[in-house]
């Protein structure tokens, strides 16, 4: 049985992956980020990813702090720019298994341009977007993902601008794997993370998670537990659902599942093919896939 199905270990399965000298972490009571880290670390041990080649890159924000807590090569970069940094890492050393672990504001607002271009290029990155529908770290401002009619510190009378449907955006931009789960769906989330470790190309997992201190509290939606209870109640698993149908609203149905899983050549593959075609023997190919210990 895998670690996600049964823990026969006396030590908490997450601990070997954490920088225990930095515990306790800074996240609030009932925040969902720690839960996603549990899923991530179990997925790592189940998929037997080579930890030496694993790199985690994050941006700025509450989720951005994940990189600092994981005991692997990790980078806490600038706001919105985890993806281009990760692109540089991957292109300079294709053997690296590069995960981008960041929040909805970081990835889709300031980082939006990089998000769509990396998906377009199909850079081999595994993007875990913890979507708490708000900017948590800075005190609860509205984000492009905040649904309508939500009170935030920069929308004290309620948001009114349409929110992003990130799954649809990623589908349209060309991501090869697009899934959404909530932190209620711990098993499915861990399994999705495991799937993307083995997947080549730009993969995007959106994880709906609560921000109890700011989003929940300001909108009288209870605490983190209330959020998880509502995820349980409101979620509907629809694998393969057309992504334009899965928009998030304030209290409506949350469509979860694996929406997109397709095969496209990734950026390095395309580059090598083009160079081989154009240059023939003159091409000095330093990105040999045969040298890579990439998961396939």
């Amino acid at each position: 049985m895998s670690a996600t199905e049964q823990n026969t270990c006396e030590i908490n399965a997450v601990e070997p992956f954490l920088r225990m000298d930095r515990m306790p972490h800074i996240w609030c009571p009932g925040c969902g980020i720690g839960t996603t880290v549990n899923c991530f670390t179990r997925a790592l041990s189940d998929s037997e990813v080579d930890l030496k080649n694993l790199v985690v890159v994050s941006g700025i924000g509450c989720t951005g702090r994940v990189a600092g807590y994981l005991n692997v090569d990790s980078f806490h970069t600038t706001h919105g720019r985890a993806i281009p940094f990760a692109t540089g890492l991957k292109l300079a050393n294709p053997k690296l298994n590069v995960v981008v672990y960041s929040g909805d504001g970081d990835l889709s607002a300031i980082g939006g341009n990089h998000l769509i271009h990396a998906a377009r290029r199909n850079i081999d990155l595994k993007v875990i977007c913890v979507n708490n529908l708000i900017y948590g770290m800075t005190g609860g401002q509205s984000a492009p993902t905040t649904p309508s009619n939500v009170i935030t510190s920069t929308s004290p009378y309620g948001t009114f601008d349409p929110n992003f449907n990130l799954a649809h955006l990623m589908d349209a931009a060309g991501a090869v794997y697009v899934a959404r789960w909530t932190v209620f769906h711990v098993k499915q989330l861990a399994r999705a993370m495991q799937e993307v470790f083995a997947k080549k190309g730009f993969s995007f997992i959106e994880v709906i998670a609560p921000c109890p201190t700011l989003y929940q509290r300001r909108n009288r939606m209870g605490d983190g537990l209330s959020a998880l209870q509502s995820y349980k109640q409101l979620s509907k698993i629809r694998n393969g659902a057309p992504t334009h149908e899965v928009a998030m609203t304030k209290s409506g149905e949350i469509t979860v599942g694996k929406f997109i899983d397709r095969v496209r050549p990734d950026y390095i593959e395309l580059m090598r093919e083009q160079m081989h075609d154009s240059l023939g023997d003159r091409y000095v190919d330093t990105l040999h896939m045969e040298e890579c210990e990439c998961q396939e």
Partner: protein, 89 residues
């Protein structure tokens, strides 16, 4: 006889309630005790029901609890030992 047990790191707990809510066997409840930060950590109120599934460990955002399978009972004979070994896997 419980098939598993939970281990709780009391000082890490922030009493979010996820483990209590989502334990499939309803093993846990928030205790009336306090940790140093003033939170009520959970306790196993029905430890005999614990299967060691570790869902609590997967949910806990503070890495404060996990469940694990306990060693199976001593084998009564070869056939039973085989079954218990495959249960434990």
């Amino acid at each position: 006889m419980a098939k598993g047990e939970v281990k709780i790191v009391v000082e890490r707990c922030k009493a979010c309630g996820f483990c209590v809510e989502f334990c499939p066997s309803k093993v846990l409840a928030l205790s009336s005790a306090f940790n140093a930060k003033g939170y009520h950590p959970p306790e196993a109120v029905a430890p005999e029901k614990c299967s060691g599934c570790d869902l609590c460990g997967m949910y806990c955002p503070d890495f404060a609890i996990h469940g694990h399978k306990t060693a199976p009972a001593p084998a009564a004979g070869p056939a039973i030992a085989q079954k218990e070994a495959s249960d434990a896997r």
